[in-house]
Amino acid sequence: MNRLIRGAFWAYAAATCAGCDDNFLPYNQVEGTRILGISAEPAELIPGESAQLSALVTGATSYRWSWCPVTLGPATGHACALEEHSISTASVAVITLPNDLRGLCEAAASVAAPQDGLRLNCEDERPSIAIRLVVEADDGPVSALWPLVLGENGRAPNLNPTLTAVWAEGAPLQDGDVVSPGKVLPLLAVASPTVAEDAESLKVTWFVTGGEVDRARTAYAPGGDLDAMGANTWTLPESGEDAALHLVIRDDRGGVSWLSRQVRLEGGAQ
């Protein structure tokens, strides 16, 4: 028993430590092609209805959206156990689910059961379908998988949390603002006050394309201080032309949105 706990403890520690080595670029430092967030509007999708899918992506040249009700295990890159349904090749896509999704999921389970690595998304506490996004760029493709939570009639749907602004030195930070290279910029991201009324946890990931932020992620727990989640410090790069800040906010029910700002560095080329 104790070996089990110890094993799980260290396995977890090892798993969560991917990328935590100082020799590697931090997760929130964005270089090249990255998918930083995927969102649906509405945040939950009821079978038979439609939702708009969008993604916060850097450096992509093409998009390929698809969805799958039953995915295989990580050894296959979560390949679809059944036919994968194409959605769109645009940066923003609209998905419309069939009415009998749950039946499809259950049927898939009985048919595909012997397959190695099968994972039933519909067995989860919050059933979902897998949204897959593959973006192409000069440095190769990047794949993402995101569970789109299925809504239920009669249950209050989840809403995406929103960030309304990010403040710096007493004013909202705007695209194109000019800042000094190497400047230490205190930031305050402002979330919509309604998000705290949902009594759920929130997390903000602070991505930057230049310089570094004190905390890669900040969080809010019900009853906590919403302003504390939004506070961070951005040390701007010493050189270069510009730098971008991407804030991605998530709740714990699959709701996602983001806010991006790009600033120009003083003295950099126009």
């Binding site: 028993m1 089990l4 590697f24 009985s110 900040t218 998530r250």
Partner: protein, 768 residues
């Protein structure tokens, strides 16, 4: 013609004029072990012995698989006896002079009384010391061979092994059949996972054998007489595990006065005390606490990290021995162990999007109380009653919360009879009942052959009361010409799965001559699945027992008094192994994932070699080599087992420079552990992190491991006490052994993660 100088020497040969009685060590008497002890005596001019050093202890009958030469306290008993000897003074130039000599004392068992013929118990076991001119005591007697497949490591032996900090439990790693121990502890025995082996103290299971990090065991070395290690084909008195059995056998302290020992090292501090209370009662107590936390707290505490409890451990033991009569022995043993750490990260979510709080803590504690009653008369009966508790609590950022409290109850009774036709008959009962309260919130834990934990966070809480009731019989049947058969049968009932395990076993042993013994064994063992595998929704309550077949054959050879060899071939076949599955069972019309099933299988096979040089010519050491292949079957494919270590070579040695200096070394060369290559990563939007895409499970290996450990000991003797200091250098040439691979956030880059660098540990020990 005889040279005059030879006549002079002959006339000056020491002559014994007064003998002394030695007390036969009770535990050796119990186990029917004889010994020959070589002493070095310092004799005063008047003929009184005033200094005694134990040069070597040879247990008889000599068993090459036994890695001990000084167990059972024969050395102490011989020293006590030698101090009572008196020699005729040697006169040089008209004056008596002090002199030194080597002296051999042999402990020989009295013959057993014929059953039913003599109703009285055997005569007292005090050996007779006879001066035969060479100061040897030779009384012929035949001891009953320990015809079982086991290896024993004495506490005295392990104190000399570099890299183990004098801890006999840790020294097990240096024996054949045991793979290199990982940071999470546990023994990998003949290709079995750590959870498939069990650790015991005098036959009573304990929850773990080492503290956090595996640097120390949970029991004071001073209380340990020896470690009985059974890598396979074990006696029917053991069961319920498909791996190995590690049984820590306690000493029976019988001090004539107060003895004590205090140890201080950079890791921890420990105290041991034993004292007599009257003629029949003795008490021994021990305790140890780490003190690294004192430094770590101030080192780690900061703005981002609050250290509630830096990693620390402590343990304690108490042993009371009462001998109301020579046939009766009552022992009460209590022990406890506590490992704890608690860290509070101010911003855990910064590292893990799923974190709901910053608490990272682990608390593992257990306690045991064991009452043992031994009757050694016409029959030998041992009754043990043990109760204990185990407490676990592990918190990881609110994502992983495991809390479990056990109440353990063990009852074991074993009866041994030595019938008139020779040999021994053994029968026993073995009951274990547990009461487990648990509450778990976590993803399913990672399993062997998988790559990390996956899936949603699950919760479960409840009460389990598993009972395991076993009964066993075993016979040692000498059938002539040195051939012995040891058939046995064990039956266990497991309430948790409502299943039975019937385990027939057989060992054949042929002692061809005094120096050569051949043996072979075959047997079946059963084991319960892991707890989490049986509890819904984490696992499958419908799982059945795991079954293993053990086969082995070996030869033991002792070409010289100080040199022995043991070669063993083994094969272990595993059936009904629990494995993760994606199969779905339709229950009440609803597809329900099974999570685990008994569809797994596997095997391990190989050879174990042990060459041992007992202490002679100021040197003692051994070579241990294990060739092992451990495989598991995944449907149509066979792959390496997570813990496979194909080649394990260990060299252990110690050399004495004079009386007070010694240097020990251990060098290990081990195959790199299997790893699953990572082909790339896929970004998981719900976790805000990349997930690894694994290649073939365990289809690659880390680089080979090799490491040198050194230990230097220096002892100073004083009138009533002794002081020793040691310096232990772990990883002496600072090899950067690769223990795992680290990846960047999207698994596109990797680098080696090395184990501990050169680690010097300085310590001092005082003993009186």
């Amino acid at each position: 013609m005889i040279a005059p100088w030879f006549l002079f020497l002959l006339s000056q040969t020491p002559q014994l004029v007064e003998q002394a009685d030695a007390v036969y060590p009770p535990s050796a008497l119990r186990d029917r072990i004889e010994a020959q002890v070589l002493l070095h005596l310092e004799v005063e001019a008047g003929g009184q012995v005033h200094g005694v050093k134990v040069v070597s202890v040879t247990l008889l009958p000599e068993d090459p698989s036994r890695t001990s030469t000084a167990s059972y306290n024969f050395g102490d008993a011989a020293k006590e006896a030698a101090l009572g000897l008196r020699f005729k003074p040697i006169i040089v130039d008209g004056q008596a002079v002090p002199f030194e000599l080597d002296y051999t004392l042999r402990f020989t068992l009295p013959p057993l009384p014929p059953p039913l013929a003599i109703p009285d118990p055997p005569p007292p076991p005090t050996p007779e010391i006879v001066d035969d001119g060479r100061y040897d005591v030779v009384v012929e007697a035949t001891a009953i061979p320990q015809a079982i497949n086991q290896r024993a490591l004495s506490a005295a032996d392990s104190a000399q092994v570099a890299g183990t900090l004098g801890d006999p439990v840790l020294a097990i790693e240096n024996l054949p059949g045991v793979a290199r121990i990982g940071f999470d502890g546990g023994n990998v025995v003949r290709g079995s996972a750590p959870a498939d082996s069990i650790s015991m103290v005098d036959g009573v299971p304990i929850m773990l054998e080492t503290h956090f990090g595996g640097f120390r065991s949970v029991i004071a070395p001073q209380l340990v007489e020896r470690i009985d290690f059974h890598p396979g084909n074990f006696s029917t008195r053991y069961g319920r595990r498909t791996g190995g059995i590690l049984d820590v056998r306690l000493r029976t302290p019988e001090p004539d006065r107060i003895h004590g020992e205090a140890e201080l090292s950079v890791l921890d501090a420990g105290l041991y005390l034993e004292l007599p209370i009257g003629d029949d009662l003795s008490v021994a107590v021990a305790g140890r606490r780490s003190h690294l936390d004192l430094a770590l707290t101030s080192l780690l505490d900061g703005e981002d990290l609050q250290v509630s409890a830096a990693p620390r451990y402590y343990d304690y033991q108490g042993l009371v021995t009462w001998r109301p009569a020579k046939e009766h022995r009552v022992q009460v043993f209590g022990m406890g162990s506590d490992d704890r750490m608690a860290l509070l990260f101010q911003d855990a979510a910064s590292d893990d999007i799923r974190a709901s709080n910053g608490s990272l803590s682990s608390a593992v504690a257990f306690q045991r109380a064991n009452l043992s009653y031994d009757y050694q008369g016409q029959v030998h009966n041992n009754l043990q009653l043990a109760i204990g508790g185990d407490q676990f609590r592990t918190l990881v950022f609110g994502l992983f919360d495991f809390q479990a409290n056990f109440l353990d109850f063990n009852l074991r009774d074993q009866l041994e009879v030595e019938p008139a036709f020779g040999g021994k008959l053994t029968a026993g009962l073995d009951l274990q009942h547990r009461r487990l309260n648990y509450a778990i919130t976590a993803p399913r834990p990672p399993k062997e052959g998988t790559t990390g934990s996956d899936g949603p966070t699950l919760s479960a809480a409840g009460l389990l009361e598993p009972t395991e009731l076993g009964a066993y019989v075993e016979a040692e049947l000498p059938i002539g010409l040195g051939l012995s058969l040891i058939p046995g049968l064990r039956a266990d009932y497991y309430s948790l799965v409502d299943g039975y395990g019937f385990d027939p076993r057989l060992v054949v042993r042929w002692q061809a001559n005094e120096d050569l013994t051949l043996r072979a064994g075959a047997g079946i063992v059963h084991q319960l699945p892991e707890f989490d595998e049986l509890v819904a929704p984490f696992g499958n309550p419908e799982l059945e027992l795991i079954r293993a077949e053990h086969y082995s054959a070996g030869v033991e050879w002792r070409p010289f008094d100080f040199l022995s060899a043991d070669v063993t071939l083994y094969w272990k076949e595993l059936h009904d192994v629990v494995r993760p599955t994606d199969r779905v069972a339709v229950k009440d019309g609803t597809p329900t994932p099974l999570v685990y099933d008994n569809g797994g299988s596997g095997r391990s096979y190989g050879a174990e070699v042990m060459l041992r040089h007992d202490r002679a010519h100021n040197f003692e050491g051994w070579l241990s080599y294990t060739l092992s292949r451990a495989e598991r079957d995944d449907d149509d494919q066979t792959r390496l087992f997570d813990y496979d270590q194909t080649h394990i070579l260990t060299l252990v040695g110690r050399y004495w420079f004079g009386e007070s200096w010694s240097v020990g070394a251990r060098w290990r060369l081990v195959s790199g552990s299997p790893v699953t290559p990572i082909l790339g990563g896929i970004w998981r939007g719900d976790r805000d992190e990349y997930e690894a895409i694994p290649g073939g499970i365990n289809s690659a290996r880390l680089p080979a491991f090799h490491q040198l450990d050194l230990r230097i000991d220096k002892t100073w003797g004083f009138e009533d006490w002794e002081l020793s200091a040691y310096l232990s250098l772990s990883n002496a040439y600072n090899r950067a052994n690769v223990e795992s691979l680290g990846y960047n956030f999207d698994y596109s880059q990797s680098e080696n993660v090395s184990g501990l660098p050169l680690l010097p540990i300085l310590g001092a020990k005082g003993r009186f």
